[in-house]
Symmetry: C2
Subunit: 166 residues, 2 copies
């Protein structure tokens, strides 16, 4: 069981977008080049982010992507769920119903409380999500600023600026 690579890409793209001067946009082509990943495929991830209203895409020349709201208002969970979906990692197929002396599933509309096994798995899933929910892009930016040598940060910013130049 593995998250798809879209998650990694989306997180990195958002991280880059978070450090973008106000008003600027980065086209998918540049984001792909920056990370050395296939442009067309990355597009799918960006579109998912766009649908989830985490980034906003603009058409035409000088178009591209920017964050749809402040970095402090975008959590890791927002990004992960945008590309992976909100479904729980544990799916219960109600195999308990096959037990020889099972409780009958409720005939109509009524829902049963999920069983003890499923609840543990759901709680674990929620613990995962809860942690992701607690970290925002603003937090990430702060950490990166602290950890990555200034030379590297400036170098990348310069490259971006040069390539956005038009």
């Amino acid at each position: 069981m593995q998250l798809k690579n879209h998650v990694e890409w989306a997180l990195h793209c958002c991280s880059v977008l978070a450090s973008l001067p106000d008003g600027e946009r980065i086209p998918a082509k540049l984001l792909a080049e920056l990370h050395g990943i296939p442009r067309e495929y990355l597009s799918k991830a960006l579109q998912a982010l766009s649908t989830a209203e985490i980034v906003s895409g603009t058409l035409g020349p000088n178009g591209g992507y920017r964050l749809a709201r402040a970095p402090s208002e975008i959590s890791f969970l927002d990004i992960v769920e945008a590309v992976e979906g909100k479904g729980c990692t544990f799916v219960c197929t109600e195999i308990r119903d096959n037990m020889p002396c099972a409780e009958k599933p409720p005939s109509k509309g009524k829902k049963r409380r999920p069983c003890a096994v499923a609840r543990v798995m759901y709680d674990a899933d929620e613990a995962w999500r809860s942690h992701l929910r607690s970290v925002t892009l603003a937090d990430l930016a702060k950490t990166v600023e602290k950890e990555v040598p200034l030379r590297v940060l400036k170098g990348n910013a310069k490259w971006l600026a040069a390539n956005l130049d038009r």
Copy 2:
């Protein structure tokens, strides 16, 4: 991203085994029948549990599976990891190395500290595992005992006893 159905099966089988009188064993065939799942395929999950030394299998007539240690010594995490592996759900492909002004990856042996993005994902993964680690089969049994009607519990136990009869 979804856990494989082996996880659900393994958890249910362990739950059944936990309620088994001391000394008894259940063959894979019965466990499969009990849950209405394909016997040969379930075998794979049971073999994984066996390899992880969570259950112990015995060959020959009257053979079958039993737990390899006390229910209180088997956590959900043990079971999940036995069939899903211990690898983190987030895999980092070091795409930061493709940035135009990246830090050079350390030339030899030395390992870099994982980056900020990866660390958040790893921490979330650990939160998930940590919750699974905190619940044992003994805890599960207690909950089930409280929640499932006695009639159902006894009915299933009776069915098992009858089918183990030889």
